[in-house]
């Protein structure tokens, strides 16, 4: 029984967006014409560079709205930054024009919205959709329409059989390995208890951990699915306690994770907890769990302390929204600058040329290079060949990068 709220107000807002744009278009063009007339000369072409349309697909209503809304705020900030810095110079200072579409946390809606966005607008590229399940659909549609799509979604499937999808950040398979390696920060002989919700997400993530554990020298002492949305975590934690684990990996959504963390504390259990990524690395997690969250570890494809540029963007985002720039939103700002870099080199708004330019993307400075390791180079399968996740830890309400050594910005807090 899944019920998704349909927010008619926001739907109306994004339907109105192209209209508003065309009015601005008219103003710019007539303004340019008047100015040109005043100087008695009409330039041959591009008296005001046409804006470059970038599609943004995010769930701003429905169950994933919480993170989707943050993504849209970041996407707007990124576009403002590019435009204020003079737009795309090789296109006569063309401004980026963001066209936002709500995919309503729903795969069917994602398919139709992506289609509608592409056929209704002349797009140069698309970014989206935060949730892998939605991005997989959007990337299929974009592939067929031959519009490049750039995404921070981690599913490895996004790199299979696609030539228009670009993933500049760490892949899901790398997350599991990083999590296992992090358990060795706490103990030389990690005994890990893996508990996961019995859903597709929980099962696939935990199986990845199980497969990689032997090669990383990590012993898994408990491997237990549980029913998502339980009323009480005590029996489960009782079981973790009797397993003798010194580290706990929990593949859970927010509500279950909050119960698990509280119960571990109540039981006085001395285990380090790694909550993975997603809902675990957003400001809301700390707001809900409070001081108990301090010391908890996770993994992310981006963190606001990866570089000085990232810190700068983080400060600006904080000013706008009051929250720190979270994983996906931060990566999204870097993606926008990657698109700007590609447009600059392509010297064209044609999606085909933008795709070519994205496939040879190679940056190691500036906002486009805001990624763990500070380098982005797209390989033949659309992946960043330097892409890797960063291990993070909650420290006094902030997320600090603690792993691997070269990305660590703070020492691991012992709990």
């Amino acid at each position: 029984m899944k019920r998704v709220r349909k927010d008619s107000a926001s739907k109306a807002a994004h339907q109105a967006a192209p209209k508003r744009q065309s009015r601005r278009d008219v103003l710019i063009k007539t303004g340019g014409l008047l100015a040109a007339g005043a100087f008695g000369a009409v330039p041959l072409r591009g008296w005001a560079a046409d804006p470059v349309n970038i599609g943004a697909l995010y769930p701003t209503t429905g169950s994933m709205a919480q993170i989707g809304v943050g993504c849209v705020a970041a996407a707007k900030l990124a576009v403002d930054m590019v435009n204020e810095a003079g737009g795309i110079k090789s296109l006569g200072g063309a401004k980026l024009n963001l066209i936002i579409s709500d995919v309503q946390s729903d795969t069917t809606v994602t398919r139709t919205e992506t289609d509608r966005l592409i056929t209704g607008n002349k797009l140069s590229a698309i970014h989206g959709c935060y949730a892998s399940a939605l991005t997989l659909i959007a990337s299929e549609v974009a592939e067929r329409a031959k519009v490049p799509l750039i995404t921070g979604s981690s599913s490895d499937q996004l790199n299979k059989g696609r030539t228009y999808t670009f993933t500049p950040f760490a892949r899901a398979s790398q997350f599991a390995r990083a999590q296992l390696q992090m358990s060795k920060l706490v103990s030389d002989t990690p005994k890990v208890a893996v508990i996961f919700e019995n859903t597709a997400f929980g099962t696939s993530t935990s199986n990845g951990l199980k497969e990689l554990a032997p090669s990383e020298g990590v012993e898994i002492v408990m491997f237990e699915p549980y029913s998502a949305g339980f009323t009480d975590a005590s029996p489960l934690i009782n079981k973790v306690k009797s397993s003798g684990a010194n580290a706990l990996f929990s593949v859970s959504y927010l509500n279950d994770l909050i119960l698990i963390v509280r119960t571990v504390k109540q039981f006085g259990l001395n285990v380090s907890i790694n909550g993975g990524s997603g809902g675990f690395v957003i400001p809301d997690f700390y707001k809900n769990v409070g001081k108990l969250a301090d010391g908890l570890q996770g993994v992310a494809h981006w963190n606001h302390d990866v570089s000085d540029d990232a810190q700068k963007v983080n400060a600006e985002f904080k000013k706008r929204t009051g929250e720190f720039l979270f994983e996906y939103a931060g990566g999204l700002i870097a993606q926008t600058f990657m698109l700007a870099d590609a447009l600059e080199r392509a010297g064209s708004a044609d999606p085909q040329k933008v795709r070519e330019a994205l496939s040879t993307l190679d940056v190691s400075s500036g906002f486009a290079a805001m990624a763990p390791g500070g380098k982005v180079k797209i390989g033949p399968d659309g992946k960043n060949i330097y892409g890797h996740p960063v291990g993070v830890q909650w420290q006094n309400g902030d997320l600090a990068s603690v792993f691997p050594k070269e990305d660590a910005r703070a020492p691991l807090m012992k709990t």
Partner: protein
């Protein structure tokens, strides 16, 4: 070994206390008014949000907000009985089923619209504390919830057995027509029954708040357990629902410990099916008390 078992039993009893508050409400409504209230879980949700907002806006401890959530939901119960349920009582069950089901959907989606799907938690000084007895851990917030839940159940039992209104309620539960012939006003009795049942749901919400998150779907988690407890403990039997709730809590907890963490409910439902196979009227016997 014994410690693990004892811990599992304690965990089960503590959560069973909360199941009991929800299921007693359902069984009371069924016993007296003879309708199944599918929206009972949503009233738990409302109780939670009342406590959340009082704690968030005025810093009132969720346990104290019991004194707000219970009266508020009592009044809501009376109003719902008077303006909605009273009008569909009749020989046909369908309108009643649709009414409470629609109420559930309405409240759930209203909550989604007003409060969004976000999880809300309240921190209290005792939220994360636990008593250590021998090698066992007893979370303080759950212990308080359990004790208050048992006290409320006890108070209800005393009310039903010693006051005139309580006796009238039991009389109406046993045989509505005869009760009416004895001069009992069914409308008044039904209003009070609904009020009490919803107040108990509100109490469950307030008691949950120190250790569980509030979100629009939260009621559905508890109402499922409540329905099982109501059937297991014989429909309409308050003591039966109480005992069945505690048993289910323990069965679920032991199931998680010894069968698998995703099998807690399997044990609970196996228990239900076995009971129904051998004692179709439920553990409480065939007689409503």
């Amino acid at each position: 070994m014994w410690e693990t078992v004892a811990q599992a039993v304690i965990n089960g009893l503590l959560i069973g206390g909360i199941y009991a508050l929800v299921s007693i409400g359902v069984t009371l409504i069924f016993g007296v008014v003879k309708i199944v209230n599918f929206a009972q879980g949503e009233f738990v949700m409302i109780g939670m949000y009342i406590s959340f907002f009082l704690a968030n806006q005025f810093g009132i401890d969720p346990l104290l907000s019991l004194f707000v959530s219970m009266p508020v939901l009592f009044v809501v119960g009376v109003l719902i009985q008077h303006f909605l349920i009273r009008r569909v009582l009749g020989p046909n069950d369908m309108p009643q089923i649709f009414l409470t089901f629609a109420l559930s959907l309405l409240l759930l989606n209203l909550a989604l619209m007003l409060f969004t799907a976000n999880y809300r938690t309240v921190h209290t000084s005792y939220s994360d504390e636990a008593l250590h007895v021998g090698g066992l851990y007893i979370p303080v917030a759950k212990l308080i919830a359990f004790v208050v839940a048992m006290a409320l159940s006890g108070a209800l039992w005393v009310f039903l057995h010693t006051t005139d209104l309580g006796k009238a309620m039991r009389a109406a539960a046993q045989n509505r027509d005869v009760a009416m012939l004895m001069g009992i006003n069914p409308d008044r009795v039904f209003c009070v029954a609904l009020g009490i049942a919803l107040a108990l749901a509100g109490a469950a919400g307030s008691l949950l708040m120190p250790f569980y998150s509030a979100y629009p779907f939260v009621g559905q988690v508890f109402v499922l357990m409540a329905f099982v407890a109501v059937v297991l403990g014989t429909l309409g039997n308050v003591i039966g629902a109480l005992v069945a709730s505690l048993m289910m809590g323990v069965a679920e907890s032991l199931g998680i410990q010894y069968v698998g963490a995703d099998s807690g409910l399997i044990v609970v439902f196996a228990m239900l099916l076995l009971t129904l196979a051998f004692k179709p009227s439920g553990l409480g016997g065939g007689r409503a008390r």
